[in-house]
């Protein structure tokens, strides 16, 4: 029951991020979503492995990454998305439609792994879809980074299915990789802002054939 509550709140937060246009709010919502996410290993397979995962996830995704992102936009003047590629209403509807597709497909999948709740796979894929939508439909660089991070949250949820079997080393490596990715992206966003005076990727359209 608690696991399903956690999964539904993750999906709920994902929908709220999708409909939001303020950079600061989106980073905070992502931190909140990661907090709920770090509790999920303990609900699926309680044990030492899960505790370590939860602690590392909290440190990296709830504290370090959001502070990195806030640091990256400390000089950015415009903290709102002016106009995304597709309007917010359309984005939300598209997100709802994609989630419907995901729920439909997940009910027909047969997993050779034992799963603790049949909401796990749909919510994982829904997060991947929502992150993908965010990544491709927004112009602000930080929003694209947040879309990537939401995608990674979804993939993390999916990896919960395999929590027992994955060596801890590999999972730590994956988390560390994502952290370094956010670090590098944050630095690049900083440079973009220094160069163009705004962190919107509308300025990054000069290279073409």
């Amino acid at each position: 029951m608690w696991l399903e509550l956690a999964l539904i709140s993750i999906v709920f937060l994902g929908i709220v991020i999708l409909g939001n246009n303020r950079l600061g709010t989106m980073i905070q919502l992502f931190a909140l979503q990661s907090l709920v996410l770090s509790a999920t290993p303990l609900l699926v397979y309680p044990g030492r492995h899960a505790v370590v995962m939860a602690i590392v996830t909290i440190i990296l995704k709830v504290f370090l990454m959001p502070s990195l992102l806030f640091w990256a936009i400390r000089h950015v003047a415009i903290r709102r998305e002016a106009q995304p590629l597709i309007g917010y209403g359309t984005t939300l509807l598209l997100g709802g439609f994609l989630m419907g597709v995901v729920f439909l497909i997940s009910s027909n999948l047969d997993l050779p792994v034992q799963e603790t709740s049949n909401l796990l796979v749909p919510s994982a894929f829904s997060m991947v879809m929502i992150g993908f939508l965010l990544l491709i439909s927004r112009f602000q660089a930080i929003t694209q980074v947040i879309g990537y991070l939401v995608m990674e949250n979804g993939i993390f949820l999916f990896a919960l299915l395999l929590l027992e079997n994955t060596p801890l080393l590999v999972e730590m490596g994956i988390l560390l990789d994502i952290f370094v990715a956010v670090l590098v992206m944050g630095i690049v966003v900083n440079h973009i802002n220094q160069e163009f005076g705004s962190a919107s990727t509308i300025n990054l359209t000069n290279l073409k054939d």
């Binding site: 709220v16 209403g89 939300l92």
Partner: protein
Amino acid sequence: MGIRILLHISLVMIFSPLLLGIAGKTKAFFAGRRGPPLLQPYYDIGKLFRKGNVYSPTTTWIFQAAPIVSMAAVLVSSIVIPMGSIEAPLEFWGDVILFTGLYALARFFVVIAALDTGSSFEGMGASREAAFSCLAEIIVFLDFITLALLSQTFVLSEMIKGNILSSWQLFGPALLLAGASYFLVFLTENARIPVDDPATHLELTMIHEAMVLDHSGWDLAYILYGSAIKLFVLGALFVNILIPFHGLSVVMQTVFFWGGMMMLAVGLGIVESCMARLRLNRIPQLLISAFVLALVGLFVVLIKGV
């Protein structure tokens, strides 16, 4: 049967303005004021009944009929809702459709009455009301479908009473999502913040208040009373879904129901004090988010299998 209906309607009519009063007192408390007395809505309605009407020469009978029709429709819809230990006098298969249809009727008359005045101000409010309620109705229907799937029946009082307790235990998250989306619709239908501000009457971005600007005297009283009853009935539905008190003793049911209504009014006041009105172009986005939430709730129910 007739006695029961009369009892039901009288209860609704007596207690609905009280909710408005409680909400107002809560808002005043948050603002650090003493605020109007708790029974102020009653005094307002009484005052308006004693006043005379002013009719514009451009209006027709629709303008005079609309307030009465809207209040009557909402009153009739209250017959289908159980209130705590008091059963709903009328229940039949598919009364959910009647429920939403009556609200559509009420809304329709208010909208065409607004257009009847020939003033662009009311027309603007009417067009917004029509647009937003399109979205809101879909969400209400989605919620009803979720509830119907959970309780395996299409009678409103049984959907609520039936096995809501076990539904909460098994499908808690789905009901939470449905409840959240219903709350947003509740705010929209009753023209509350963050959708519309019931306090000021003259901003050009009002929806409900703009529509009824030309009514006066006992027409305005009917409108005010009608909106209070609408708040009460929709809130009763919300409380019934949210608090699974059916199956307890009569006393406990009454306590839970009326207590829940008070808490709802207080909650409404808190929401109104803590938020500001949304920009008009963000309201459809809010409604679409509510739609997606209701949709996800439905998916969860479908995926877990009923």
